[in-house]
Symmetry: C2
Subunit: 375 residues, 2 copies
């Protein structure tokens, strides 16, 4: 579709540096998408999100269809205006949340009926309705509705879910209203079965999406299995389309996935951890609840450009966490998101410089070495 | 004390416009001090607080002595560095919180013993210790320890509390370590008894503080009684010293107090209300929980310079409040604090222009007229 473009600038092995151009602006890849579940990246203003360097945020169809409602957001001018994020927004299709949050699910060929986790009200999602909702939200990137199976799963059950997802992909694609600068991604399923992943990827590529996601990972499987799936799947996807690994992940997952050809990520980890006193740093995670920080005048990371990492003492952050102050959630979410954006920015620079693998090794070694020793 | 100065620029009737010069910067008065109870203005970063135009913030001796401890904050370089607020900080003496929060209080001539509301541990505050704690915190302005009696109170009980507060003022003053640009304020007590208020003010002025607070108000008495006390007390205080009305208040209280000669205010109202879905606007309070806002695309106040008031629809703010999102507390606290700072800024301009009373009338009339009609 015109106006929506992915330009591959450099590849270094399987790792890629690219540029995604959309109706709502341009994003350099690899990119990490902050999760704005209910039309807010939890605890952060849009200005704080933008300051981290995040170029595109994610919002959740499931949550927004229930509250405040897709039609309402459309009447209010769409999600960009609603949440004051003028940049690109990707919305998931709701499939994953229906499986993880909703009650009384009934899945059939046509779609899924479920009860809201908020008030028990009955709702139905079909590929067509999920696509329509994302259109109403004015999502820059829409996702097909898929069935996201649990892990582990039998080969047969996985095959059935993968095949259903592929049929839903076709219906989602037909329902998608093409507009310049907007795109829709198909989702590769097939659990850890290589042959199924390839069949799913081939089927989706035949349908022709603006990008491709790898779904059904980060659901409990070992990292090695996730990487194996990526090694199978990424080569089967067209080089000139962006690749999005859904719901991933830990810093080491992201590093390994970039090396295997993934361009886009999303995960609640930085903001969710930020609300429970955990800080991510170049030298690994830091638990600010720990009493070891209470007299520590050092910042989380003096070398960071993030005010939350650079300007406040660990003693102060510890105090805020212990007092259950909102500012603890604000500052730690900001620190964490900035760290994730720094991580993908650094990987991008390394790809461009042709030293992706070496850089990845350095990043992981520093991360594994752990936090500064106590004073 | 050299370096700490209050310059009275203009008076318009009893209303005053002044400039307070301190070791940590200059503040134009009338000024509203955001409350940073536990070394954080709840839900806001220091940058957001500064953006409202707030020039001086308040912190609480009682809370900080219990957690993280005054000696600890001193070792960490003082409260300014701890909370990343380089500007002036006023600390209360802890007396009010001991009366309102602590358990098992025992008051005697020498001081007060109490149990922490956090863990039941026993602590003692005396005028000397309260002054020392504020020194350790590096407070720009320290407050004397006083006994803050409830309202209503008998004349005799009030007289005893006022007299004790005066004796504690003397001991607080002796314990105060003078440093250039730092000051200490005495606190006028005497409930609603004019003769007691005058005796208290005279006694404090004899001791010679850098500023004077009016305490024991905003504890439930009618606004008319508060104003009467100010009309009695303010003329008894030296014109060349700042006057601080503690814990006040509602917008109309502030307007009326400025007209009666008060220069400084503090109140939890803007931030506390911001955490419960209430927004302050020029046209009165707005309860964003109310369903009337759920389709309203209008901002809280398009004419405000505050991003929270200007950029987000009421529908979005309603959504955030209903979802119990942290961003609701952040944006509404920001809006509210900005409104209070706008209020005192407007009053200052009016005093300088010689139209304080007319401006006050306009402000109150607009506020009373109420919110925009529904669409």
């Amino acid at each position: 579709m015109s106006g929506f473009a992915f330009e591959l600038q450099t590849a270094d092995g399987a790792a890629r540096a690219g540029t995604l151009t959309t109706a709502h602006g341009t994003v350099e890849t690899p990119t990490f998408m902050p999760v704005g579940t209910q039309a807010t990246v939890k605890a952060l203003t849009p200005e704080m999100v933008a300051a981290t360097g995040a170029g595109i945020v994610l919002a959740n169809t499931y949550h927004l269809m229930l509250r405040p409602g897709a039609e309402r957001i459309a009447r209010l001018g769409g999600l960009h205006r609603f949440m004051q994020w003028p940049g690109p927004i990707l919305t998931d299709s709701g499939g994953f949340q229906v499986m993880s949050l909703a009650k009384l699910r009934q899945l059939d060929e046509d779609g899924v009926t479920f009860a809201s986790h908020l008030d028990g009200s009955r709702h139905r999602l079909t590929p067509e309705r999920a696509t329509q909702i994302q259109h109403l939200l004015d999502a820059t990137i829409s996702m097909q509705l898929d069935e996201c199976p649990p892990w582990p799963i039998t080969e047969d059950a996985s095959r059935r879910a993968m095949a259903l997802s592929l049929r839903w992909a076709e219906r989602s694609r037909r329902a998608f209203v093409a507009r310049p600068g907007y795109g829709q991604f198909g989702i590769v399923q097939g659990s850890t079965f290589a042959e199924q992943r390839l069949a799913s990827a081939c089927g989706l590529v035949d349908l022709g999406f603006e990008g491709y996601a790898v779904g059904g990972l980060a659901v409990g499987e070992p990292q090695a299995q996730m990487f194996e799936v990526l090694e199978t799947t990424c080569p089967a996807l067209p080089a000139e389309r962006p690749r999005y690994l859904m719901g991933v992940g830990k810093p080491a997952d992201i590093v390994g996935a970039v090396l295997r050809g993934v361009d886009m990520f999303d995960c609640v980890l930085p903001t969710r951890s930020g609300r429970t006193g955990q800080a991510f740093t170049r030298r690994g995670p830091v638990n600010l609840k720990n009493a070891r920080h209470k007299d520590d005048p050092r910042p989380l990371d003096a070398a960071s450009d993030c005010p939350a990492a650079r300007d406040y003492s660990r003693a102060y952050l510890h105090h805020l966490v212990r007092c259950d102050e909102i500012l603890a959630s604000v500052l730690l979410s900001w620190n964490n998101l900035w760290f994730f954006e720094d991580l993908v920015r650094g990987l991008r620079r390394a790809v461009v410089a042709g030293r992706a693998a070496a850089h990845a090794g350095d990043v992981l070694a520093t991360y594994e070495r752990g936090d500064l020793p106590p004073l």
